[in-house]
Structure formats: C-alpha cells, structure tokens
Amino acid sequence: MLRDITIGQYYSADSVLHRLDPRTKLVGTLIYLVSLFLFATPLVYVPATLFLMIVIFSSKVPFGYMVKGLKPVLFLLLFTVLMNMIFVKGEVIATIWKIEITKEGLKQSLLMGARLILLILGSNVMTLTTTPTRLTNAMESVMRPLKLIRVPVHEIAMMMSIALRFIPILLDETDKIMKAQMARGADFESGNLVKKAKSLIPVLVPLFISAFRRANDLAMAMEARCYHGGEGRTQMKPLRYTGRDYAAYMILLLYLAGVIVTGKYSTEVLDWIGVR
C-alpha cells in the first residue's frame, strides 16, 4: 500500500522540455515565478498565461495531469481567494448577511487566485519534466557560487540524492513494521486523530533505529568506495549546455521583456486596445 506513493512526480515523455538541461529549467522556473510578482496590474497575466500554455503544450505532459498538481493546494487557493474577497475594503457591490463584497476585493481575489495557479503550474512543469537526480545535479551546479560563503553545496546535493534513494526503502520498511505489528494485534485504523497518531509511535521507533543502522552501513560503504567529499571528484554525467538551452534562455529573455513592457506601460497598452 505504501509502495504506490511516488516521490518526485516525474512524467516520462520525450519532449524538448524533457531534453533541456536541468539548470535551464531551474533558472527558467525561477525567472517565471519572479515575473509573476513584478507588477500588480492584471495585464501581465496575459503574457504569463500564454507563455505557460506554450510551455505546457511543448512538454507533452497531458494537461489533465498538470492540473492534478493543483489538488493538494486547493484548500490554500480557496482560502486566499475567500480572504481577499471578504476583507478588502472599497466600493460595495453586494452584501451577504454581514459580509460586504467589494469591487476591489473581487478584483484582488481573482488576481491572487490566478497568480497562485500560475505559480504552481509553473513549478510543476519543472518537476514533471525533470528526474530528481537531474534536479539535484542542477541545484548543485546552480548553487556552486555559494561555496564562496562556505555553504556545503556538494554535501547538500549528495544528501538530497541519498534521501531520494532511500525513500522507497524506508516506505517498504514502514509497511513491514506495520504489518508485523498488525499481526500482533496493533490497531492503526480506528479511533480519532490523536489516537491514530499515538498508535504510530511504536512504528516510528523501530523505523528510526533501522534508519540509523542503514545510515551507518551506507556511510561505511561510501567510505570504502573512496568517497571523501566533493573535492577532486569527477562527474559521470556532467551537465552541458547545448544550442537548445541557449535558445530556451533567449525565449525566456523575450518573455521577461514582454512582461516588463506590458507591466510598465499597462495604462498605455490598455488605452491602445481601447479598454478602460
């Protein structure tokens, strides 16, 4: 049962986006996220949405699959929208019981909702098209300048990739421990939330012990294979930018320019289209 959980939601397909260097995707996602917060005018969501649509389309990940990623944050999304709708003061357009809904509030909540949706979809594109290994590689490479201020970049990346490697093993182990305890009459199903949480303690204790034992073994195995930190280490799969990546960076710059132009000259643009 626990085995079915997949960590890192990689969707295997063969698309331009899948083949991009993970660093390009990481930097691109960051730029995209920042672009959403640059201007407060609703007009910037036009290029942002268009850009995302094109990216999603070229990733060959089914749109429905993409939207599924919104589910876990649905509550947060609704909460933000509601809060904005209720608490922003301004010109009242409707009153339900004691709650006044204002024009500004409605506008604000729609904007926030759109921003959140684009934010989540945007970062989902990256995790769906990049394997966890490549993502950790990219992070190590992008964060390399931080080494100057003594951030152990290589070690952090190594820890992340080992954690990813051991998640399925530890899930399997949890499953085994739970079954062993169920066989001896433990009850994980009934009772309220507090009781259920308490019944997990006897599972966690052996799980932690075994995790430490594994960590000890693994450290020994790594040392036995000459691991001595990031120094003097070569890479089996070094990251290399190709023409595709330079093209992607160009497109990103164009997009960013588009957002800045629409943001800066939003009134003029609106005048020009004739809306206002």
């Binding site: 966890p132 290994t133 990739s161 080992i162 990813l164 490697r165 399925p168 093993i169 594994r214 073994d217 693994l218 020994m220 195995a221 790594m222 040392e223 036995a224 294979r225 000459c226 691991y227 001595h228 003097g232 280490r233 070569t234 890479q235 089996m236 799969k237 070094p238």
Partner: protein, 287 residues
C-alpha cells in the same frame, strides 16, 4: 611478494556505558597473522562473533588494528596519505545489498567509485560498461536498484567495486541475506572474476558450500585463526569443525558418516561428483 600481509593484528572494542566510562573490552581479533598472494581465492569461515568481519574491515582501512599491522600492496593501512589508494586497491562488498547502493539507477552506482577517484568522464563510462558486463548486469544498467532481486543487487555491488579496478576484493558475507538462487549467482560471479580477471578474492562467509572453490580456507574462532588449509584438508576434520559450531557441506558429512560406518572412503570429499566416483571405485573393487 604477497598482496595482503596481516601481522599479529589485535583489535579491541571498548564498550562504554552512558557516562562514557569503560565498561569492558572485547577482543574481536586476537593476534591474527595471515598473508595472501595475488590471484588467490581465500575464504574466511567462522560462526557469528568469531571476528571474521572485524578482520575484513581492517584490510579496507575502515578499522585500524589496536596492535600489529595490516599491509595492503606495500601500503600500511595506518598511513593516512595512502588511505584512498588502499581503499581502491582492496575494494569491499558488504552484507546488506540495500545499504551499499548509493546511486538511484544501476549505472550511477557503479560510476560512484570512479567519480570519487577523479576518473575522467569518458573513462567512467567505459569502466561502468566493462564492470557491469563482467557480472552480467549490463542489461539492467538503467534500472532502479529497488527493482532488482537481492542477488542482482549484490552483483551490482560487486560491479561497483570492480569499476575502481581493485587488485583485491573483500566480500563480507555477501550472500547472508540472499536466497539460494541469489547465493549461487553471486558466488558464480566471484569465481569468474577470480578465474578470468585474476582478482584476489577474500570471501567471508558461514556457508560451507561457498568455501569449496577457495584455494585456502581460514577458520576463525574467538578472534583467532583456529584452522587453516585447503578446503580438502579443512573438511576432512569434521569433528573439529563441529566443535567450532560449524557445519560441513552435506556431501562431506554424508561421506564422513559412511566412513564411520565402515565404508572405506577417502577424507575430505567436497562435491557430489567426487563422492559418486569414490563410491563407484569401491563397488568395482568389491566385484
């Protein structure tokens, strides 16, 4: 010139209580000396707690002797500058297959050792290919280790060590957690590497069946070498082995019991073929 020299090695575990006071000292290895020649297949036998794993960890410089010295290919394991070279010369395969695979896919794991040694990218790929082929796991190179059987995982672990081009491989109970099929797979790979690539093998085990192919066998008990010799010599001393709480292979035991019952069989029969041959001979003589 031997590849591994173990000179009167003693290793003591110091047990401490919660306040860090010394509770007692356990001598895991007690004055062991042995030398291994290049290309040899050595087996070290012993029941749990006999000190065989502790001794093995000395060869890879994971543990250092409390007394005595371990010299691997001319390098003393206490010499810190030679540490990486020693670990590369004497690779180690551990018991639990899950706890020694670092990569998220098979080829990444095999590449881990060469990466640490600073081998250039192109050569890493060549080494990965040749080592996976040597253990017959090349078709699985892009699999996740979680999808492999125990025997396959151990073969990947062996490939990971071979990729570092060691002169010697120490296998610390590599088959203890495997089913009989997996055990056979692993032992076959070990024997092939010893035969073809002439890599010195030190196999630590408590399965008797795995020992019969070794050139020399050392039996450990209470931290000391209790018996040593060829498998034939060792297994002809059935009663001594029993005293050390070790079993002999089934065929050897059968031959031993038959001999005790009066059948004139030679000592130290190791394989089924040998036993049938010997029995045939006896019948011929009888007729």
């Amino acid at each position: 010139m031997g590849i591994i020299h173990i000179n009167k090695v003693t290793y003591e575990y110091i047990r401490r209580d919660e306040e860090n006071n010394v509770e007692g000292i356990t001598t895991a290895v007690d004055g062991v000396s042995l030398a291994v020649e290049p290309g040899e297949f050595i087996a070290i036998l012993g029941h749990n707690g006999s000190g065989k794993s502790t001794l093995a960890k000395h060869i890879n410089a994971i543990l250092y002797p409390s007394e005595g010295s371990v010299v691997v290919d001319g390098m003393d394991t206490k010499d810190e500058d030679a540490l990486l070279k020693i670990r590369q010369t004497a690779g180690m395969v551990f018991q639990n297959p899950d706890n020694q695979i670092i990569g998220q896919i098979v080829e990444e794991d095999v590449g881990f050792g060469p990466e640490n040694m600073g081998v250039p990218t192109k050569e890493i790929w060549e080494r990965v290919e040749e080592s996976l082929k040597a253990v017959g796991m090349y078709e699985y190179r892009s699999y996740s280790p979680n999808k492999l059987s125990g025997g396959q995982k151990q073969r990947v672990s062996i490939a990971s060590v071979i990729a570092m081009h060691p002169k010697c491989i120490i296998l610390d109970e590599p088959t203890a957690m495997l089913d009989p099929m997996g055990r056979r797979e692993v032992i076959r790979a070990v024997r092939a590497l010893n035969d073809v690539e002439k890599i010195t093998m030190i196999l630590i085990t408590h399965y008797m069946e795995e020992v019969i192919y070794a050139d020399r066998v050392f039996v450990m008990d209470k931290g000391k070498v209790a018996m040593s010799g060829t498998p034939k010599e060792i297994f002809s001393r059935v009663s001594e082995l029993r005293e050390l709480r070790l079993d002999v292979p089934q065929v050897t035991e059968l031959a031993y019991e038959l001999k005790r019952a009066g059948v004139p069989l030679p000592d130290g029969i190791l394989t089924r073929e040998e036993l049938t041959e010997a029995l045939k001979k006896i019948r011929m003589m009888g007729q």
